[in-house]
Amino acid sequence: MTVTEDPVDTNAVPTPDNNLNDHKPNGFGRMLRKEDPRLVRGRGQFCDDVTVPGMLHLAILRAPMAHARIVSIDKSAAEAHPKVKAVVTGEDLAAHNLAWMPTLSNDVQAVLATDKVRFQHQEVAFVVAEDRYSARDALELIDVEYEWLEPVIDVRKALEPDAPVIRDDLDGKTDNHCFDWEAGDAEATEAIFADARENGVVVTEDIVYPRVHPAPMETCACVADLDPVSGKLTLWSTTQAPHAHRTVYALVAGLPEHKIRVIAPDIGGGFGNKVPIYPGYVCSIVASLLIGKPVKWAEDRTENLVSTGFARDYIMRGEIAATKEGKIRAVRTEVLADHGAFNGVAAPVKYPAGFFGVFTGSYDLEAAYAHMSAVYTNKAPGGVAYACSFRITEAVYLIERMVDVLAYDLEMDPAELRLNNFIQPEQFPYESKTGWVYDSGDYEPTMRKAMGMAGYDELRKEQAEKRERGELMGIGISFFTEAVGAGPRKDMDILGLGMADGCELRVHPTGKAVVRLSVKTQGQGHETTFAQIIAEEIGIPPEDIDVVHGDTDNTPFGLGTYGSRSTPVSGAAAALVARKVRDKAQIIASGMLEASVADVEYEAGTFRIKGDPEKSVTIQDIAMKAHGAGDLPEGLEGGLEAQICYNPENLTYPFGAYICVVDVDPGTAEVKVRRFVAVDDCGTQINPMIIEGQVHGGLADGVGMALMEMISFDEDGNCLAGSLMDYLIPTAMEVPDWETGHTVTPSPHHPIGAKGIGESATVGSPPAIVNAVVDALKPYGIRHADMPLTPSRVWEAMRGNHTPPI
């Protein structure tokens, strides 16, 4: 395993004179995106751009309160609206056994409420009308009578014996308990804590990762077109997982799976928000079935923020046991998780807490233990979303915040403390104390590189001088390790579907190719990077390779794009399917060159006879031969194509070192992020430009979560962040110019050595920023403050208020 320097300087800026692109014809390197020419012309096709002749419009009536019994619904006035085609309630759906649907966590969720509403803005009825505006108008004409019930909003009170029971729809349910989960060895961990209490140091901190929301710029939408003659449903839908959705629709609606075609057109950002199946999709399918016409549903921004998959909402108590010299020995945590009214978590079934189990981070420990209680509350369902890598955001935030708490108490430099505790390169593959096998890593060079780029020692000097003058400057570090690319089918499935991915490659007679993927880009650039993977393996230029994705009728089965899994799983499938084609091409080449297969060698699209470089054929020659006239070598079928279903051997473990510098105004408590240095290691790089873009986006997410984003509720359960006026996302004014760098430690089990990068920065950046702010506030004697660190919350923290009211 080697760690190398940056293959390219990713901070270099292209100019009209120098586009920085790699000029080699094929394979990996900086290459402009194939998606861009249509998108910059406004010629992408997003879901709400889809128009089908005769299409009707669907709008959803939602509950105004968090918890109430439905007494009656009068829809007669709405039905009388001249442009309304149908008004449907939960009772109507119940008559077809469609009022409830399974969630991705084997819970059930109401499509339309029948008995009670369980969170504010839950779906209660829908209207289908001739146009968008009339559908909205008709919602006003539906009269619902509700009997108000006491809501459960404070997650800490959800398990109290007299708390109202939210899920009385579940047989025998008498409390709001959702599940309990644990990892690690409780006894061994306690033994080390007991020893550390006597002979070392134990630090404890209560840490909240608040509820946030992915809020992609495009909200969720679909067009359902159920052809009454053929019985075939075509569903254009904002989905990150078209194949998994198709299977679920088959199970829910009872439609035969071959009669369902799910098309995910261009998607305006996903970030996990477009993994679950939402009631709006099911309502649209039902509406098209009932009316016999295509039906469009396009969510508005409020609906997106208040009802679709939120993220985080973990209340964590973290503990570290260490020696007085700063050797971390054990980590322990107790977590209270708010899952909302239905358990809609989109995570592998055996991992109800996602991959929170990697909370031991990048450190070599003697023991670790986590226990979690998840509960129902009268809030929107969700939990796994917003580029979290299945809850690794929470895990990394916990450990990286706790390491800083330890550094504070030990009066140690947080960089030094981390360097003293890293898993060492020779320990890989490293089995963590909670059972995760880290595939590869070499942490110190990555950390040193970030410190070098930041000028860490100079920054500490500057900070010391500023503190003398009463100025507040903070330096925050986070070092994260992720586990991405779910996953091995022996362990991982969603609703019984193994988390493998298919890939199919066809080389046409003229040497052009089409590759079909089970995953779906939402901006990650699959149409480019997957062409590059194929190009690297068989030498067909990327521009000659068409990438087909997001259409279940035209792509092989697989579980979709989320949890940074496209490159680790589907990218491996693409490399291996290309190698299958290459193997066949080599046999054909041997026939063409009249040599034995073993005597033919391959390099960059050309097959040569070993030792006789003059005699060669190209992949294009071979493609024509494979489809053309004349005999092929004995036993070989014609054509040049292959298909594969890749089952990953393990997850991949990307890592990175982030350093953030902030300035805090002592008078107003405003935080300014001055600098952010990010050094990432995602193994082999396919397209450094796209990797840099993925990192940049995640860093901005981190600024959002650390400083401003939060979905909050009042005590009645009214959502206080129902618009982008109230749910704040960073603009160009709040983020610095990112300073990025890379090291390369390939994954040993991935065919091209690549690891996932899509979520690293979202996972790794919040602790760096919070650590920086807390570091800035050190003169106030503060070692923790909860996100989001708005000016008010920073000011309250300066006064010692650790539990902000809002």
Partner: protein, 309 residues
């Protein structure tokens, strides 16, 4: 709503209906101020005037505003879009867009508080449409220009079919979302007195660019040699009726500027504030900002007025 009680939902918002489209209305376009007034006379209290639309149209989408008639006055931009110095007064037309207020070098020289404030009002694209008159008439308690105009002791020209009347900012404000502009009337101009040896400044704390103020303060001072002849402070988002805090003016009058004076005056601002806790911040924090931002605005205004900035 007490638990156990039943309620038939009535207003769209009660019903859980979300934003997207306004309720139907009739559209009229005014071509002159007189035409606008005639339209308002004819259409009565069910008519609303729309200028930039960035406050009214979102309220219409929420169906919190459901006018039967909408009178578009954007064609009045030529007639009412101006910044003019007339004698010892700056006159600004009500249809002057935020961007024009921001970019006017003349205004920045005479009344720098405008540029301070406009830099942090909404965002550049919204500022292309939003107007001075629209901001003042919306009278949102978190709206910046009301505080600016009050610090500057501005007056408002309101016209109806019976002619013009001029009201002070104090009389213009009737409370949150309420002004002195009655049915059939239109705000046409804001007048700001110019005094020598004067300057002004504005400071705002926001959670993010483009957000409404957590709190803000604007100050205007007139110097007489080394002392403050007159000073006014307008506060924003820290409670109702704080667009001019009279005890502050009293405390400033005739005093030599100093950090102690600013701190004393800041404390008066804070004592007069009555903010509430919301997602923008705690009441305590906003009270603190009333002081801190008053101090900063005064410090800056005095520095500018005395040529030390």
């Amino acid at each position: 709503m007490p638990v156990g009680e039943t309620q038939a939902t009535r207003s769209p918002n009660d019903k859980g209906i979300n934003m997207q489209v306004p309720a139907p209305f009739e559209y009229e376009r005014a071509t002159s101020v007189d035409h606008a007034i005639a339209l308002m006379e004819r259409l009565g209290s069910e008519a609303r005037v729309v200028a930039g639309g960035h406050s009214l149209i979102p309220m219409m989408k929420l169906r919190l505003a459901t006018p039967e008639y909408l009178i578009d006055i954007n064609d009045l931009a030529a007639e009412l879009g101006y910044i003019r110095v007339e004698g010892a007064e700056v006159r600004i037309g009500a249809m002057t867009r935020h961007r024009e207020l921001l970019e006017s070098d003349e205004l920045a020289t005479l009344l720098p508080i405008f540029r301070d404030a406009e830099k942090v009002i909404a965002d550049p694209v919204v500022r292309n449409r939003g107007t001075l008159g629209g901001s003042l008439c919306q009278a949102d308690p978190s709206e910046d220009l009301s505080a600016v105009c009050d610090a500057l002791n501005a007056s408002c020209v309101i016209r109806s079919k019976d002619g013009e009347r001029v009201v002070s900012m104090h009389d213009f404000h009737r409370g949150p979302y309420e002004t002195a502009v009655a049915d059939g009337e239109i705000l046409t101009e804001v007048r700001i007195p110019l005094r020598p040896n004067s300057s002004s400044a504005y400071h705002k704390v926001e959670r993010r660019a483009g957000d409404w103020a957590v709190a803000s303060a604007g100050a205007a001072v007139t110097m007489d040699g080394g002392t403050i002849a007159d000073g006014r402070v307008g506060l924003c988002a820290v409670g109702p009726n704080l667009t001019n805090v009279e005890p502050i003016s009293a405390a400033l009058r005739g005093q030599v500027p100093s950090e102690e004076l600013f701190a004393t005056v800041g404390q008066i601002a804070s004592d007069n504030a009555s903010p509430s806790t919301d997602t923008r911040g705690t009441a305590d924090y906003k009270s603190h900002l009333a002081k801190e931002l008053t101090i900063r605005s005064l410090r800056k205004a005095v520095a500018r007025a005395t040529g030390q900035d």
